[in-house]
């Protein structure tokens, strides 16, 4: 079988063999599982840990697990984490330096062996988020070597979206519930009268080899049509939408809008939206020394543009007000990201809406800015 081979079908047992095969290959398998009242991403040792029969009930500032009537595994919206937790970890050592009694200094790059990840259940919005981070972190003049190493070895198994949540708006960001190229395997889960099964397409040679190792059958017409139908239906069931305008221009032209004062009154500048966002990449660095004072390490950790220190210069922060910090985040995401990295920084996963403790809704804020700007709907 090759990457252009026809779609296949696996059942629950096949999913179990998939996880077992990846584990047997020595891969670190990461996928969804139920923990602490949420569907989180964690290392899986078998498919038994997948969230069979769990769904989620979402809204702005609200996230609840709910029992489903079926045994669907991937019928839940994006949880609090994204794959950046593994590809672009929250804390990472960059390099260390040692000083001899004579004063000679040597610098040593931290080059940890990259785990061979297999990400199981990557939603199409997150597949796009990974592609965006790829470009941000490895597409420029100075590629992030740690990210690049982890990313090159990671196998991506997408799960197409058939169950968007109330905070989802991927379609209005130019995406959709179907998986774009970039995956090694794409699964589409189907639960109907014919049973619980997954349509599987290979997107790479490695994915094709993996599929070959699973108990599978060639996709039948009914299963294919059912899978396509479920994904098409999901496209029309997005919980939210961004206004159909050129967002880059709208945000770029709204720097003086009154709406920023309104949202600043509600924003706690806690940075939750940046932590859960699958494309937010900002980091800071810190120096850590040992007790001898002759060994020092440089560490990188996630940072947030909502932090007052983020824009600190010697005379104080550039963006001191919550208004300026919220404006920075939203205009970066939807407008200046285009200038910097040739794409939007938003994939419409809805995490920032669900995990904002104040229930601030990005789509609502953009709609308000659009209304204030008085521009025509263009698209």
């Amino acid at each position: 079988m090759t990457a252009t081979a026809p779609p296949a079908v696996i059942d629950e047992d096949g999913l179990g063999v998939l996880v077992a095969t990846l584990v047997a290959q020595g891969r670190t398998v990461v996928g969804p599982t139920v923990r602490d009242g949420a569907i989180v991403l964690a290392e899986l040792t078998s498919s038994a840990a997948l969230p069979y029969g769990w769904g989620v009930d979402l809204d702005a500032g609200r996230y609840r697990l709910v029992r489903r009537e079926d045994r669907a595994v991937f019928a839940h919206s994006a949880g609090p984490q994204s794959w950046k937790s593994w590809l672009h970890p929250a804390r990472e050592r960059l390099w260390s330096a040692d000083r001899t009694p004579e004063g000679d200094v040597t610098f040593t790059a931290a080059e940890p062996e990259a785990p061979a990840y297999a990400f199981l259940g990557v939603r199409p919005c997150d597949l796009r988020a990974i592609a965006i981070q790829d470009w941000v972190l490895t597409g420029g003049r100075h590629p992030d070597t740690g990210y690049g190493r982890r990313r090159r070895r990671a196998l991506l198994i997408a799960a197409e979206c058939t169950e968007p949540g109330a905070t989802c708006f991927c379609v209005s960001t130019g995406g959709g519930p179907a998986a774009d190229p970039g995956y090694d395997l794409a699964l589409t889960e189907i639960v109907d009268d014919d049973g619980h099964r997954f349509l599987v397409r290979a997107g790479s040679e490695e994915g094709a080899r993996l599929l070959d190792a699973l108990p599978h059958r060639r996709a039948d017409f009914v299963t294919e049509a059912s899978a396509r139908g479920a994904v098409d239906a999901a496209r029309d069931r997005m919980g939210r939408a961004l206004p159909p305008v050129d967002l880059r221009t709208l945000l770029g032209g709204s720097l003086a809008a009154d709406r920023w004062d309104d949202v600043a009154d509600r924003c706690l500048t806690c940075g939750n939206c940046t932590m859960v966002c699958p494309t937010c990449f900002c980091v800071t660095t810190e120096e850590v020394t040992d007790l001898t004072g002759d060994h020092t390490e440089r560490w990188q950790r996630w940072d947030s543009c909502f932090d007052l220190d983020f824009s600190h210069l010697h005379e104080g922060p550039v963006r001191a007000s919550p208004r300026a910090r919220y404006r920075q985040w939203l205009t970066h995401k939807l407008s200046t990201w285009h200038d910097q990295f040739d794409s939007s920084g938003c994939v419409g996963c809805g995490r920032c809406v669900a995990w904002c403790p104040a229930g601030i809704d990005l789509t609502e804020e953009v709609a308000a800015l659009h209304a204030e700007s008085g521009t025509e709907t263009r698209r």
């Binding site: 000679d104 610098f107 100075h142 660095t285 020092t296 824009s311 600190h312 210069l313 910097q340």
Partner: protein, 268 residues
Amino acid sequence: MSGLPVPHLVTDRRVETADTVTLRLEPVGAALAEFTPGQFAMVHSFGRGEIPLSVSSVQSTGGLAHTVRAVGAVSAGLCAARVGDVLGVHGPYGTGWELERARGRDVLVVAGGIGLAPLRPLVLEALADPGGYGRISVLVGARTPGDLIARDDLARWRTAYTAVTVDRPDAHWDGDVGVVTRLLDRAPFAPERTWAFVCGPEPMIRATARDLARLGVPPHRVRVSLERNMRCATGHCGHCQLGPLLICRDGPVVGWDRAEPLLSVREL
């Protein structure tokens, strides 16, 4: 993240002001790629961390040097470095002044305080090429006479015009008093055939660039060097954003045509 520091030996330490020194550096082993005037390096003080520092001298104009003012833990550590100490340096990063674009034109350099440091190699490069440029003028402003750096250079440079002004004179000062923009009237340059290079505190950059625009220097020929918080220098930490720009990648030197609309938005 990339950019492993390369050990550099401090070969000379020159005290510029009460809180500012210039450190001359030589690589202990393999050298970094050549810096061009206006670019910057990340310079590491052992156990304290690293900060971005413009080059105040480049390899081709007398070897690598940085001028650093003690304003925080890392810069204070660097200021305290002694000859023979080893510092970590990586770079070059960012855009340079691109002096060559001014070939055949008048060159106007306007500096505020320590902003003269990144302009110093540009002046040296221009002066090393007699006939390459039109008239070369250097205008410098400082808060007090004690805050002036590169005094020897200012006395030695054989430019068409060099002038210094201070905000607050002391008992010994008999020179100009006031903001640096007041010196523009006396400097010999023809606005329509001038390239201006400006570095200093943001209000000073704004005032200078606006006056130059009023005098008729086209905004894209006013090159300004901007400052934002930089943690990585490689475009990955996000700290140095100024609207669409990542200053470490798209700057620090940009044309006033790009900088003006951004610097006119409060808290951008």
